[in-house]
Symmetry: C2
């Protein structure tokens, strides 16, 4: 390894360590920290963000990037080092435009906003949260102003979404979402006319201890490893890798609605498997992270839905569910379970939404946050706007902000531009799932017997190991069969829901 690349990697390793400390501080804040520690935690996160930014945007990094780039001029452009230079260079250019002070303020606002959100959500009190959101929007607009006019950004939202799904443009997302909405709306309308599935198993009482045992068993089959993973309780579930050998997933429990915890755990474990599967050689470099949140979400949704809600895996799930839950779920048949967990029904909470309506939850947020950042919608008017649009899309009246505009942590944490990646993740999952089915002919039989390692290994080779070496559409063209596309996901949905509801949704 040449001297310049080595020096660059040493600096990037230090930054990766600061990221590890930051991830830990965030995980702790959401899982362990006593409530009075919030103010001090905001100080810590702000300082870490400022330092990280200051160190990353140091001119010496630019010089080392130039020097290392020159050294690699004749190297394989798809090699680890060449890709490291390319990806790091792009991030360095973007970071350089943001004053360190603003980075620190954004981190502090995120930390304080999340604390305020926890209280506001518990009290269903949007007003107490509004000033935090105002502050976040003000800072986010300053952030956008640093970047407009660079990198081909055509609007404020382009700047934001690029942080979560590097390289994608708002117009492209809007186009994909228009197609998706065009497919979902008639599908949901048809299903609303169909005979409802029996969803009583979903509401059967299931004690928390048993739910924990079941979730542990299932994530154990997926690849959760006690030596390198943890599972903890939180308010808003997430997964995080603190560092190699240290993946943490979180979940929450509802004894009257067990799918929340189980599918939450499978979802977060899917994220964790992505993090755990990144090639060790890439550790402590920017390409040793996941590529994007869209790709991340493709992994979580694939495990949660394509696997977890499949007819085949219901064979594994039903007897375990019966054993851990007892009561009304004693002896539940795989077929009955399969139908219940695939019921389609408009509902208030995104993270509990079925696969068909889920996309509409995202499209709603995608629209509202564009309006917020562009100033077309004021914070004070947000709950009304949310409720009106929610009624339009779902036919439901929101009567409690905790189940409406306050349900998600993202805006509280300053993460505008994040939501679309959830729906993009579904689309990508659809593409990968189609390809996995064609390349793993025994997949259905494996799922039915709880043998999940072959699929996990396939995903590791196709997706995980690459880290952030390739941008999403490049990765998909190499490993998934084409650029982001709506059709495979819709085909998957129609096939399954036609089966579950016994209606013809087309193909």
């Amino acid at each position: 390894m040449s001297a310049q690349i080595q020096a660059l990697k040493s600096r990037l390793g230090t930054l990766a360590d600061l990221d590890g400390a930051t991830e830990l501080a965030v995980w702790d804040q959401q899982c362990k920290m006593p409530s009075d520690g919030g103010r001090a935690r905001a100080d810590v996160l702000s300082t870490l963000a400022s330092l990280r930014h200051e160190m990353f945007t140091d001119d010496e990094i630019g010089r080392l990037l130039d020097g290392a780039g020159a050294e690699l001029a004749d190297a394989d452009p798809d090699g680890d080092d060449a890709r490291l230079i390319k990806v790091t260079g792009r991030r360095w250019e973007k970071s350089k435009r943001v004053p360190t002070e603003l980075e620190g303020e954004l981190a502090r606002a995120s930390s304080e906003g999340q604390e305020a959100w926890v209280a506001a959500r518990a009290a269903s009190d949007f007003k107490s949260f509004a000033p935090y959101l105002e502050r976040t929007l003000e800072l986010t607009r300053r952030y956008v102003d640093c970047h407009l006019g660079h990198d081909g950004y055509e609007c404020a939202y382009d700047v934001l979404i690029d942080d979560y799904e590097p390289g994608i443009k708002t117009a492209h997302v809007a186009d994909l979402f228009a197609q998706l909405k065009g497919d979902l709306v008639p599908m949901i309308a048809t299903l609303a006319e169909a005979t409802p599935v029996d969803e009583r198993p979903l509401a059967a009482h299931f004690a928390q201890d048993g739910q924990r045992r079941l979730a542990r068993e299932i994530v154990g089959l997926m690849g959760f490893d006690e030596r390198a993973w943890r599972m903890d309780d939180t308010v808003h579930p997430f997964a995080v890798r603190i560092g190699p050998g240290d993946v943490r997933i979180t979940t929450r429990w509802d004894e009257s609605y067990w799918p929340m915890a189980l599918y939450g755990a499978m979802h977060e474990c899917g994220h964790g498997l992505y993090e755990a599967g990144i090639a060790p050689d890439l550790a402590r470099t920017p390409i040793g992270d996941a590529q994007s949140l869209g790709v991340h979400e493709s992994q979580s949704r694939l495990w949660e839905n394509m696997v977890g809600r499949s007819r085949a895996f219901s064979e594994v799930l039903a007897p375990r569910l019966a054993r851990c839950a007892g009561g009304e779920l004693t002896g539940i048949e795989p077929e009955r379970l399969y139908r219940a967990i695939n019921r389609v029904k408009p509902s208030y909470i995104r993270v509990e939404a079925d696969e068909a309506t889920y996309g509409l939850h995202i499209i709603l947020r995608f629209e509202l946050e564009q309006e917020l950042i562009e100033g077309r919608l004021q914070v004070a008017d947000l709950p009304q706007a949310w409720n009106a649009r929610f009624h339009e899309y779902f036919g439901l009246e929101v009567t409690d902000d905790a189940d409406g505009v306050l349900q998600d942590v993202h805006w509280a944490a300053g993460m505008l531009g994040y939501f679309p990646t959830y729906a993009l993740g579904n689309l990508i999952a659809g593409q990968l799932w189609e390809r996995a089915q064609s390349e793993l002919p025994a997949l259905d039989a494996q799922l039915a017997s709880g043998e999940l390692a072959p699929l996990r290994e396939w995903l590791r080779l196709r997706v995980h190991r690459h880290g952030a070496k390739f941008e999403t559409e490049e990765l998909l063209e190499r490993e998934g069969g084409g650029p982001i596309s709506v059709a495979p996901f819709v085909r998957y949905l129609k096939l399954k829901l036609s089966d579950v509801y016994g209606v013809d949704l087309g193909d």
Copy 2:
């Protein structure tokens, strides 16, 4: 506030945030981290230590210290700002002498050493741990070499102990310990001849759940507050403040020896109360930390022993113990409990030692670590040296290194010079206890009724609130009645143990 002091405080605040991130990473490593995360955690801790050191030793801090000192030339020398300059200046001078690279290596060796120690202790395998200790000693000697010839250090050990008990000299400690040993040895000999107390209550089976309830109740009386504190399980208990409003104590459980968990929890809660009681005005500055480990230990030992093992508090403890434990402890009388928990009996494990033999455990370590750092004792010979000296002091044969030289984490963590502070803490606790008794005439009655707030408040005013404003002996002269002294602690011990054993130990 003048510009220079403000600029200085801003920089010191950033450093305090790095300390918070570090404390959290250490807490997590010992309480939550999956085992495979150790290597990445060592990277994080090493990077944080290096950064902190680099930023603290920046020349600009020196200039700001000079400038702020000049601005405060006419200010009250006991004021917060004047003391901040004095204390920070001393630490800055000491830190400046240590290369950043060495700081990083020490942090990494500490983190890796602790991981190795956990495994070595579990397997009682000193050999696997020896290379880590060698490395730690090598780095510690390099650290000592940075300082010898400065600050009046007369020997290698002066440099080390100063990090834990600022300003104290090895010769002074050796003198205090010689007096202490001179008092303890005949006391222990007399008690060995006395009728043994009935210690069966200590070994009564007590289920972990009940122990948790009891510990929670007792630390609740002391001032543990759910909004600002946590209690977790660990291998080697400790207390830490991640930041204001975030104090964490840890404990471990043994169903065949309940005093370990209960007195461990009281001990760590005593540490936590000190951290929680530091004046908020001092937050995010170097004088917003505890003064020294000796003062810290005076707080933990005072609560654990002077309160927790008092005749008065046995009235509170006995009925709660009976209720939470049941079984053999049903209906235990306060008097019987009081005698059992004050039994004196040489044993292997320091943290479970009684108040009389405890000092000998410390003196043994104080002697051995001086020999190690000076090269008079080789690592390979350490277990034998430990066992020989242990036999000399306690009349016991060590047959298992896990109960001998491997029992403590300190050397694994690179903390040489730390152990003496435990015994100094006992001496300081003796002094404060004598003063508290004279200034709080209702103290005994309060302890007997579980009313612990008056004592906690007295300690907050006398000790906690000052943080690190005053060096230990100055603090004691202001608030405790004189410099560190052996006599009050020995008077306290003689009085109690004469009572417990019904023998005359003199006064």
